[in-house]
């Protein structure tokens, strides 16, 4: 190394110096301390100014205790459960991006839109005045807001809608969580006020419904769920045979779909048919695997498709199963009078309530903007070629848009999984305090409780390093497979 090189390095590091100091003080050193802490029994109840016990190294005892700790297992599964919303959210933001990506500069549509919006606006405002300040005025108000949005949207096009879609994500924080806590409020929140009215008006009709009809509907829903899962099995295998999907992606996809099937069947009464579908699917898969395939591709090709689609199907089938469970004994319940759920105050509803809120925020997030950029990058020639071949919009989506966006989807998915593993703290702190009965305690909230409330610092560090390991696994995954996508 000559003198010049040394001087260059010195200059380069000189500019980096403040950042390096900060990095050492607040990242590197704490990281090492935290690793050391994870191997000790540091507990503020035992080691404080009154009891002068020395902190001892207990090596892997924390980690051993961790995996036997029913709380940890439960909070880990809570975190994973909340992460089931991720594919749904990504699908939502893709949908939003595709809506936004349309050509808004159609000639006469603006005039049409403005006319319609003004009519809606005038009618609703006058009705608002006529009705006075009554409950019906709320409906009018909502219509008026819709009218205003339509009006501005027709005038401003994509930018306006993009801005409005982005609000929830941009303002996400304590204030919005508190707002949602009030919206969800079981006794007199607006959501339950509205639901109660709907339920009251519907329940007489539902009470008249015979048990057989209810059971039939419930069964049809389950069959739809199982059919969806079966179709996805088939679709993925077909992709694999056509060389659109690698073996690794196929395995992941089949694993998620099997989980979906097992969960659905556990949660409903149709255990035998579901297991039959699973068995048939596996036999088919085995047969196909043994016979081999014509076209080959790299192992992880089509990975984001595998995870997103299977994940969406998973959530969707669970929703269907849950609905079918509800409908099964709906007539009996309707006779007794239907009550809206207690949302974040109910053990079973707390997680879905938070996921619903997360979905609200996820539709218009950074992901939508990334997808928008991606969509504008898809070559128009591909679409023109598809038009000449007479492709339907559905086919256009599945054979052009979706594969073309796969690298963006992969990036979004990785970021969402990393975020999801660490997430849930703010919602839990602001809305539920991790309750009811620990239903919304995620790993990050658990670390907060252990590290800052109960003071079991060693144990909390062990939990956080376990979390770190999981995040690191996902990151490794990203390094292994992600680079190929970004370099394409």
């Amino acid at each position: 190394m000559n003198r010049k090189e040394i001087r260059e390095i010195a200059t380069g590091l000189g500019f980096l110096l403040p950042n390096i100091l900060g990095f050492l003080a607040f990242t590197a050193v704490p990281l090492v301390i935290s690793l050391v802490m994870a191997f000790t029994d540091w507990n503020l109840e035992m080691h404080n100014m009154f009891k002068d016990n020395t902190v001892q190294f207990i090596w892997f005892d924390n980690f051993i205790k961790l995996f036997a700790d029913p709380d940890f297992i439960r909070y880990l599964s809570n975190t994973l459960f909340m992460m089931m919303g991720i594919p749904f959210g990504i699908a939502g933001s893709l949908f939003a991006a595709m809506l936004l990506n349309n050509d808004f500069k159609g000639g006469s549509k603006r005039i049409w839109g403005i006319c319609l919006a003004s009519v809606v606006l005038i009618i609703s405002i006058s009705a608002l005045m006529l009705a006075g300040m009554h409950a019906t005025a709320t409906m009018m108000l909502i219509t008026a807001v819709l009218g205003v949005i339509l009006l501005i949207g027709c005038a401003g096009g994509q930018t306006v809608y993009r801005t409005l879609f982005y609000f929830p994500h941009f303002t996400a924080g304590v204030s919005t969580y508190i707002l949602w806590k009030k919206l969800y409020s079981p006794e007199n929140g607006p959501i339950n006020n509205a639901l109660r009215k709907v339920l009251d008006s519907v329940s007489p009709f539902l009470a008249q419904m015979s048990d057989t009809t209810a059971h039939a509907i419930a069964n049809i829903m389950l069959i739809v769920a199982i059919a969806l899962i079966g179709y996805s099995f088939w679709r993925k295998i077909k992709h694999w045979l056509d060389g659109d999907c690698g073996s690794f992606s196929l395995a992941i996809s089949l694993a998620i779909l099997s989980i979906a099937l097992i969960l659905t069947s556990c949660w409903s009464r149709l255990t035998v048919p579901a297991l039959a579908v699973l068995a048939v699917a596996f036999i088919c898969t085995l047969v196909v695997l043994i016979r081999g395939r014509k076209y080959r591709c790299v192992l992880d090709y089509g990975l984001s498709d595998a995870v997103i689609i299977s994940g969406t199907i998973l959530v969707f089938s669970l929703i269907l199963a849950g609905l079918s469970n509800v409908i099964w004994d709906l007539p009996a319940q309707a006779t007794a009078g239907l009550t809206p759920p207690k949302w974040h105050a109910d053990y079973n509803w707390a997680k879905p309530a938070l996921m619903l809120m997360g979905f609200w925020g996820a539709i218009g997030s950074n992901n939508t903007l990334l997808y928008l950029a991606g969509l504008s990058g898809v070559s128009q020639e591909l679409y023109e070629a598809a038009d000449i071949d007479g492709a339907s919009p559905w086919q256009r989506f599945w054979s052009i848009t979706w594969p073309q966006l796969s690298n963006i989807t992969f990036f979004i998915l990785i970021m969402a999984v990393i975020g999801g593993l660490q997430g849930g703290f703010e919602m839990a702190k602001a809305m539920t305090n991790g309750g009811p009965a620990g239903a919304t305690t995620t790993l990050s909230y658990y670390i907060y409780i252990e590290g800052f409330s109960t003071g079991r610092l060693g144990y909390a560090s062990a939990v956080s390093w376990t979390l770190f390991a999981m995040v690191f696994l996902v990151t490794l995954f990203n390094w292994k497979f992600g680079n190929r996508y970004t370099n394409e």
Binding site: T27, V29, G173, V174, L179, L183, F425, A430, L467
Partner: protein
């Protein structure tokens, strides 16, 4: 040309309506928040969203509740976020200058390591950081709040992405004129990267106004709270006063919405720079 079932106008109208309905679902919670903040407490739980008489006084009252130092918290948030933003933009621009405009051995390896730290879960560092703060007596103090947030790998990454696109001929011209590296940074590159600075400023400022974890564990005395934990404290002590709580929430959310509307262009650019890997 493709044939559509509907005419173009009808399609556009349909599209607009679908978009407007989705947008409505985004806006409705905020609408309820503002309307609830204008009600009396007794009216909040009613079916009707509209207040009988608009209680503008609620917004004044928030500042006068006993034990709720709303104005103080607001100021604290702005104060802390301003410091964090200033320090972060400064250190990030220095570091990104080194990563993008200077040639030195091992530069790219160091940068990769830097990127790696973005993946580290912040939670792992929180407990030791807190213990360190106790040791250095920085608990319940503004420096303790500001310093850990003043260095960011994300900011460095964002600025670097931008600085890479400034033509290299400028550096050569400056060198021929005999400018030192510091002059190159201060007089040429920094003024040219103003768009990136604006973007990073908004991101950091808004992000820091919203942080909750670190202030929550660090700040003990009520008059030093920032807005998010202040609102948490408000909710846990006087959460039944929904109308006032909503007024406080509205006052913390609406400025963000306004900033977003006016600064949208910069924000979108920032998300693209930071999100699309380069």
């Amino acid at each position: 040309m493709k044939k559509y079932i509907f005419s173009k106008t009808a399609r556009m109208l349909l599209l607009n309506i679908v978009l407007a309905i989705v947008a409505l679902s985004m806006v409705l919670p905020f609408t309820w928040m503002i309307l609830a903040s204008l009600k009396t407490l007794a009216e909040v739980g009613e079916d009707s969203w509209l207040p009988r008489v608009f209680q503008w006084g609620n917004y004044v009252e928030v500042f006068n509740i006993r034990g709720i130092m709303f104005g103080r918290w607001y100021w604290n948030s702005i104060f802390v976020a301003a410091w964090v933003t200033f320090l972060q933009v400064f250190t990030s621009s220095l570091a990104s200058f080194s990563f993008s405009r200077l040639q030195w051995k091992g530069r790219d390896q160091v940068f990769l390591m830097y990127l790696g730290t973005m993946m580290l879960p912040g939670l792992v560092m929180m407990i030791p950081n807190y213990q360190n703060m106790i040791k250095f007596g920085l608990i319940d103090s503004y420096p303790g709040l500001i310093l850990p947030a003043a260095f960011s790998a994300f900011g460095t990454f964002l600025m670097r992405q931008f600085m890479m696109n400034i033509p290299a001929s400028l550096d050569e011209a400056a060198e021929i004129d005999g400018a030192s590296k510091w002059q190159l940074y201060w007089d040429i590159i920094l003024p040219l990267s103003r768009p990136a600075i604006v973007t990073l400023t908004i991101f950091t400022f808004m992000g820091n106004c919203n942080t909750m974890f670190w202030p929550l564990v660090l700040m003990k005395s009520k008059d030093k709270f920032t807005l998010p934990i202040g609102i948490l404290a408000f909710d846990s002590s006087q959460g039944q006063q929904t109308n006032l709580l909503m007024a406080a929430a509205a006052m913390s959310v609406i400025p963000m919405i306004l900033v977003f509307i006016f600064m949208q262009k910069h924000l979108v650019k920032g998300i693209m720079l930071g999100g699309v890997k380069g």
